[in-house]
């Protein structure tokens, strides 16, 4: 960036973690004024470590940080904030029961006589700031009543309110819907106009190409390239990121659907807040077919999946497996009949994070022969469990230093591979996959997509739910659009155009 001055320079940043892992290996990074600089890399490439160094959360072993050309020592977040660095973490750091205004001013409260909080002034300032950034937010609303997208804007507001000139966003779109992503991009552009410089961490190629002025790619702790969006494309970026040519397009091949395996009829169910979230869902999935459900998050997809696998009791309707009514079957009973499930939230449902890998590899099969035997299946059998874990780890390329590490120490991609390896067994009839690649890097996504297609070709009925419309479009043989608890449209893969499906997702109607 010769035409812009650098507000931030990081030179030769090196960080070695105990155990010898080089998280950052002599990284150079330069951020221009009014620049949106994307930091692209796979999970575990060292992006977050680099930003934690900038924010003072991690001390580098070597290297120098300059702000406006002056070398600075950043000892902690307070230093970083004082120097105009703001950070929006992947997991929001808001107090759910406090209002927007209270969260924003937390630690920098405006007080009147005798230390009394002056929330009215705070609220006015926040409203003004939000308007300047191009969005509206009621400062009096409690944070736990906001959507994730809105919460993120509050985080940005908080950073700007504290005088951030350099804003770091760590995977800001990971939890957002496509609409929310578009809105946040609008906010970021407005911020850039206003004079803020932004570091945008991501592993999503489309987004990076859309929003960034410059893209720096990090692989295994090293900068492997820096590009301007106009001079590059997805394939080149993916190759830089992964270190080898990656196929971004899914080669789905021809499907050969057989008989209807999974059938859902007139399904109605309540959500956790006791609203009727499913209002009569009908669908079927044939053997050897992938049916994808497209929809904006919160339209009942999660509840539908939970009903199918037995985690939620429907109020009405029926679920059938090859003609047999399984509506009243337990989770375990359905699993025995050949229904496997990859849950959306691997850390909450799919894994027990403190457990070592073998126990996680058999988490849903712990009571089956040969993993349990003796005294009527009461005693666990260590050797078969270990053998199976070793086999699955190898087959699904789970990268861990040994089997005897806790699942919590694995990267997100490897955690997901553990879940997928466990669920994608060979005697399956129905495979329910919810957000199978959320938060994963390109290499892992490619791998998991291949596995899903392989299962389909083996005759499994696959029900896919994903917040990534592209994933649904790429993988599915048939696409259903879900809107406010109903299926409002069906597309064959060939005729599903992105715009048509997107419009139906947003409005529930084919034409408005």
């Amino acid at each position: 960036m010769s035409d812009k001055t650098s507000v931030l320079e990081m030179r030769g940043i090196t960080k070695r973690f105990p155990g010898g892992t080089l998280a950052n290996d002599a990284i150079d990074l330069e951020l221009g004024e009014r620049e949106i600089h994307a930091l692209l890399g796979e999970n575990g490439a060292g992006k977050t470590t680099l930003m934690n160094i900038l924010y003072g959360l991690v001390t580098p072993d070597e290297g120098e940080i300059r702000i406006d050309g002056t070398p600075v020592a950043i000892q902690g977040p307070a230093d970083a904030i004082a120097r105009g660095i703001g950070m929006v973490h992947q997991h929001f750091m808001l107090v759910p029961v406090l209002s927007v205004a209270e969260n924003v001013v937390l630690g920098q409260e405006i007080t009147g006589v005798g230390g009394v909080l002056d929330m009215r002034t705070a609220e006015r300032r926040i409203r003004e700031l939000a308007e300047r950034l191009g969005f509206s937010v009621d400062p009096g609303t409690r944070v736990n009543q906001l959507s994730l997208g809105q919460q993120q804007r509050v985080e940005i507001l908080k950073a700007i309110y504290r005088g951030a000139r350099i804003l770091v966003l760590d995977e800001p779109t990971a939890v957002l819907t496509p609409q929310e992503t578009r809105e946040i991009f609008g906010v970021l552009r407005r911020l850039r106009q206003d004079g803020t410089s932004i570091i945008f961490i991501s592993h999503k190629l489309d987004e990076v190409l859309e929003i960034a002025d410059r893209i720096t790619v990090i692989r295994r702790g090293k900068v492997v390239g820096s590009r301007k969006p106009a001079q590059t494309n997805k394939d080149e970026l993916a190759e830089l990121m992964v270190g080898r040519a990656v196929s971004l397009r899914v080669d789905r091949g021809q499907s050969h659907p057989g008989d209807v395996t999974l059938e859902v009829v007139g399904l109605r169910a309540l959500d956790d807040r006791r609203h009727e979230i499913l209002q009569g869902v009908d669908l079927n999935v044939r053997a050897g077919e992938i049916v994808g459900i497209a929809g904006v998050g919160g339209n009942g997809q999660d509840e539908l999946v939970e009903c199918v696998v037995g985690l939620r009791k429907p109020n009405a309707g029926a679920i059938r497996l090859a003609g047999r009514d399984i509506t009243r079957q337990s989770v375990e009973g359905r699993r025995d009949l050949g229904i496997a499930y990859v849950p959306a939230d691997r850390q909450r449902f799919g894994l027990v994070l403190p457990y070592l890998l073998p126990d996680n590899f058999v988490l849903t099969r712990y009571g089956e022969v040969p993993y349990a035997g003796g005294l009527g299946g009461f005693v666990r059998q260590d050797q078969p469990i270990r053998n199976e874990a070793g086999r699955l780890a190898k087959e699904f390329d789970v990268r861990a230093s040994s089997l005897d590490v806790a699942a919590s120490t694995l990267s997100g991609g490897n955690q997901q591979k553990v879940v997928v390896a466990r669920e994608f067994r060979h005697d399956l009839r129905v495979l329910v996959v919810d957000q199978p690649t959320r938060g994963l890097d390109v290499g892992s996504i490619e791998f998991i997509h291949k596995q899903v297609i392989e299962r389909r070709d083996a005759g499994v009925a696959v029900l896919l739910v994903s917040a990534e419309l592209d994933e649904v479009l790429d993988l599915s043989d048939r696409i259903l659009v879900m809107y406010r608890g109903r299926i409002v449209g069906t597309f064959a893969a060939a005729e599903a155009q992105r715009e048509k499906v997107g419009l139906l997702m947003a409005t529930g109607e084919a034409r408005t």
Partner: protein, 381 residues
Amino acid sequence: MRRWRARLAPTWSKAQVPVYSIVLAFAVAAVVVIVSSAFTASGFDPLLPFAAYARLFAGAFGSGNGVANTLVAAAPLMFGGLAVGIGLKAGLFNIGVAGQFLVGAFAAAVTGAALAAAPTIVGMPLAMLAGGLAGAAYGFIPGYLKARTGAHEVVTTIMLNNAAALLLTWAVNDLVRAPGFSFPRTADIGQSALPILAGRNLHLGIAFAVAAVFVIRWILVRTTLGFEIRTVGANPSAARYAGMRPIFITALTMTISGLLAGLAGAIQMLGVIGFYAPGITASVGFDSIAVALLGRSDPIGILFAALLFGAFRAGAPLMQIETSVPIEVIDIIQALVILFLAADLIVRRVFRVRAPKIEIVELATVTGSWGAGTPPPGTAG
């Protein structure tokens, strides 16, 4: 030597904070002893803690009698510690050991008295069984309430502790009062008493307790039930997803916990007390919580923690007699141990112990939001 080190490393990494907590507790209690010595007739004595601790040790281990007293005091604490520990494994904090202990002791006393004339081989096992079952039933109540209605076990078990003490007082007064005594109590257990193994008072209960340690350890580590209990404690959502029934496991674990607490009451009754009278001490109930925490809910850890607390009880009288340091110092040490365990950051700072990679579920259950066992954050990103 080095190989031994490598083999012991995982055990040591689990045990170091508890061990250091004990060391630190002794050190801080020593300061209390020194300071308070200035206000006694014998005057300020900076070496008093050494003398006191030496006597404490001698009292607990210095003679056959001392060892016997240590084991006798440790036995109910092992059962009680296991009761609390297995609950913590499932993410449950059973504060009701005191109540379940009393119910178990009472049932054992009444059954034992009824079979006082029968041979020991008949009366003693039946009295033990009655105590265990009564405790199990009393543990089932809060387990069922939690599973069905979500009523928090901490609240319900505290209430049930009071209910047990008062109900049993009424029962002894009005239902099973033995004639011929000036105060309300049950009849003698006679032949139903636990046989003496050695010395004056070392009864069979310690063997039962040690056996229980290994049975519970086997269940937790080696069986599918133990896997279910641990999974429900570590991550109830994942347990449900895996096809387990957290509701059932919760109720069952509280019942097992009550069973163990009831057995603690039964061996204390059949091995030491001999009859039930209102006001018998249920301090075992609360010491059990300390034992479970010190043992990190691990059965082997609980075995050693119970032996330590048993040694405190057995050695303290000699310490008081020979050095005039009051028995209450033991309570100070015990309290400090738990304090340092809960505030393990202090211990880690003092002894430069690195934080574990994995949050300890059991302690999170107690110190965190009651029973909600927050899963440790992942390392994604």
